[in-house]
Symmetry: C2
Subunit: 452 residues, 2 copies
């Protein structure tokens, strides 16, 4: 194995007490600590010790209707990631922020601030928010249509990047003698006027260590894939089989060329929920026990949300009823398709389907030994289905500890994963370039007078 | 001096490299560190070591037109305060957030998150944003009229408090045996529909250690004082003379009764920018040297913004020209009045006026020995002008160090300030009660069915 062997990227997706919906019923989880910084700090340090590229916090802007049997939210990403920046040194910090119910000035500014605070470790998972429950917290009766959400997301991102470019890297002068603090030719209004936003700028935060956060995307619909191919630098995706993973990988990578982008400029990270035990049998038993702890009403509720049908009246041991066509779904279209395909391919009952989805909400669950998990990751990585993985521990902290201490060393032994950080920024970990400021390239524009 | 002697509260207002507009030209300040967490962490630890009640970050949502000679912004408060929460243990963390260009769901949520992260140390300085520059970053050509801004602020706060009350203190059940995670009778939609906002709720963060953040207010106009009397638990205010301070104090305290509030339920904290040296002469010289470092064009620009007139064409050594009446001012009305009064009372030239404002932008500047500073604070505190002070170091870190190591011990010797924290929360430091959840009091409403 050579020095320059291609290595995989690993992100850990931290959510409450783990991704399995019954994780909180295991006695080794600590559900009352989901609002404690110390809990997340322990997880972040464990992941950093294992040299993960990044940790990731998902987000939603509403409480689910089924708060009785499980809680999908805890702390808000900007605040929690900033606090974690203060107690870690190397690991990247990725947070979900919606473009649908936010303002680009606020979001660009908070990411700029987080990137400074973390010395260049910020990443933004760009989502478009797909539920009426969220809309109802922001004055709307229903949420935006799928295509409109992506239209807005594009303009939102355009404004954000303009704001991040509004300070050149060397705009701060700090000449005490002459009294010049900043070179005001290098701090520019953006004067954006579009269909969705009017923003004058400049941002009130100077250019950040990374230029701007790593742009991550997690939608796998047609709109989502196209958005990713145009803008994203990493993509989280749910893929159930190697073949699906390969198809998705080559589909998305194939779209890069038309945007003038290089194959390596976008990292594809399928989700994996690994259930690890010393033997395969023990791992399967561990998975079975976790599934047995699920509350059927909760699982059905979650499934109902994914497929857009109220399933509470259907028999648990019967089949999934006929689903509406995907084009009428205004939520997460790709997740809908995945569930429909899964139920059909494996002829699952509702109960079986809820168990299959309990671990990763559509992300792949794999139960086996640490070596078997490493084999799976290596296979996907070598066979063109992944540049790395979004690791989703089924329960926390144990599921992360097992992966960090058993699977990661195995991957390191195989030369597939770093043994030390060789960079201090998230862009560095993922091998992504620091974006050049749009104004830095042009000497003509550089000194254009822009009134502030 | 008895055990129960009334003690003052001290907040440190941290801004860039200090409050004096020429602070960055002193060679002992570090202007290039204003985007470094380590810089703020050092300041926060110094303040915590001195047992300050809290530290405070102001905020604005635009870059000033005069970025060349001074920079008014650095990092965003939610992100920076969250990071500081991770590196401190006791000191309160107060941030400015505008009600004009934000959504109550986002703001309530981030403060709830910060309050959890800090274990009950969050405070919210509620401002209404008063500049067209800010409006232009949020799709508006001009900002809202003064009275409208306060109308919106009231409804914003109403929604926020409802959201903070949407989880009862004991809503989390976490019964692993029965599979009940939360008592859904204690997690309620708020169904707010008003003139400005429609928000369904509940919040997606459980009830926080303090119930909700300490509510701080910093406007001293008629609207501002009335808003403070109705809602605020602490108020930052700029008062130039003892008499003005006493008048303001009794005015605001006098308004509490009609809202059924106790005299002690609102703490009044005038700003003080202390310039400290071993002798009075040295302190005055230190002040003079700082004033000499100001850039006249910058000072005039700042003054122009305060009074709503472009002063750049007026002679620096001539008088302030006639000002428009206060009722046509749509910015900071109370600061306008303060400047007008100051210029008239002391018959100052424009240059003298910019020097008087250079240290604290209208807040009181006092140059003297540590004992003289302590005397001043004691006088205001004992003579009914203050419950404590908003300490605004003219330059940082030195100005804070001097205050913390020379003035604080003097106040402690006099029994006027704590020598140890006896509480872990910001409410505790200020002697403010933890607000009861609106639903906790009523057994009838408590079990009202609310559909989620």
């Amino acid at each position: 194995m050579g020095e320059n062997k291609r290595q995989m990227h690993l992100n850990v997706f931290i959510m409450n007490v783990g991704h399995h919906e019954a994780a909180w019923r295991r006695t080794d989880t600590e559900p009352r600590r989901i609002t404690d910084l110390s809990y997340y700090a322990e997880l972040a340090r464990e992941a950093e010790e294992a040299k993960f590229d990044s940790l990731f916090l998902a987000d939603g802007l509403a409480v689910s209707r089924n708060v009785k049997h499980g809680f999908q939210s805890g702390l808000e990403p900007f605040t929690l990631l900033s606090a974690l920046a203060a107690v870690t040194k190397k690991i990247g910090l990725i947070g979900t922020v919606s473009t649908t119910f936010n303002e680009p000035f606020h979001v660009a500014r908070k990411f700029a601030s987080l990137d400074h605070i973390s010395n260049g470790r910020a990443g933004w998972n760009i989502v478009t928010s797909g539920s009426d429950l969220e809309a109802a917290n922001f004055h709307k009766e229903a949420h935006l249509q799928h295509a409109k959400r992506y239209e807005r997301a594009k303009e939102f991102l355009d404004v954000a990047v303009k704001l991040w470019d509004s300070w050149e890297d060397d705009a701060l002068v700090v000449d005490r003698e002459s009294g010049v603090f900043a070179d005001d030719r290098k701090v520019r209004a953006i004067d954006h006027g579009g269909s969705w936003f009017h923003v004058r700028g400049p941002l009130n935060v100077p250019r950040t260590p990374q230029g701007y956060p790593v742009l991550v995307q997690a939608g796998s619909s047609e709109d989502g894939k196209e958005f990713a191919a145009e803008f994203a630098e990493a993509i989280f995706t749910a893929q159930q089989t190697l073949e699906d993973g390969q198809r998705f990988y080559s589909d998305v990578k194939g779209r890069l060329l038309k945007y003038g982008r290089h194959h390596d400029s976008l990292k594809i990270l399928p989700g994996i929920c690994p259930i690890i035990a010393p033997t395969e049998e023990e791992a399967k038993e561990k998975e079975r026990l976790l599934n047995e702890l699920t509350v059927p009403a909760y699982g059905l509720h979650q499934l109902s949300q994914m497929v857009g049908i109220d399933l509470s009246q259907y028999p648990l041991d019967g089949p999934l009823p006929e689903l509406p066509p995907v084009d009428v779904i205004n939520g997460n279209k790709s997740r809908f398709q995945l569930v429909a395909d899964l139920a059909k391919r494996e002829q699952l009952t509702l109960r079986q389907l809820t168990h299959r989805l309990a671990g990763g909400r559509g992300h792949r669950v794999f139960a086996g030994t640490a070596v078997q998990v490493a084999d799976q990751l290596e296979e996907w990585f070598q066979l063109g289905a992944a540049d790395g993985f979004n690791v989703m521990p089924p329960f926390l902290p144990g599921g992360l500890t097992e992966f960090a201490r058993e699977v990661v060393p195995e991957l390191q032994r195989r030369g597939l994963f770093r043994t030390e950080y060789d960079s201090g920024t998230l862009r560095g970990h993922y091998g992504l370039p620091r974006p050049e400021n749009r104004w830095a390239a042009s000497e003509v524009d550089r000194y254009k007078e822009v009134s502030l």
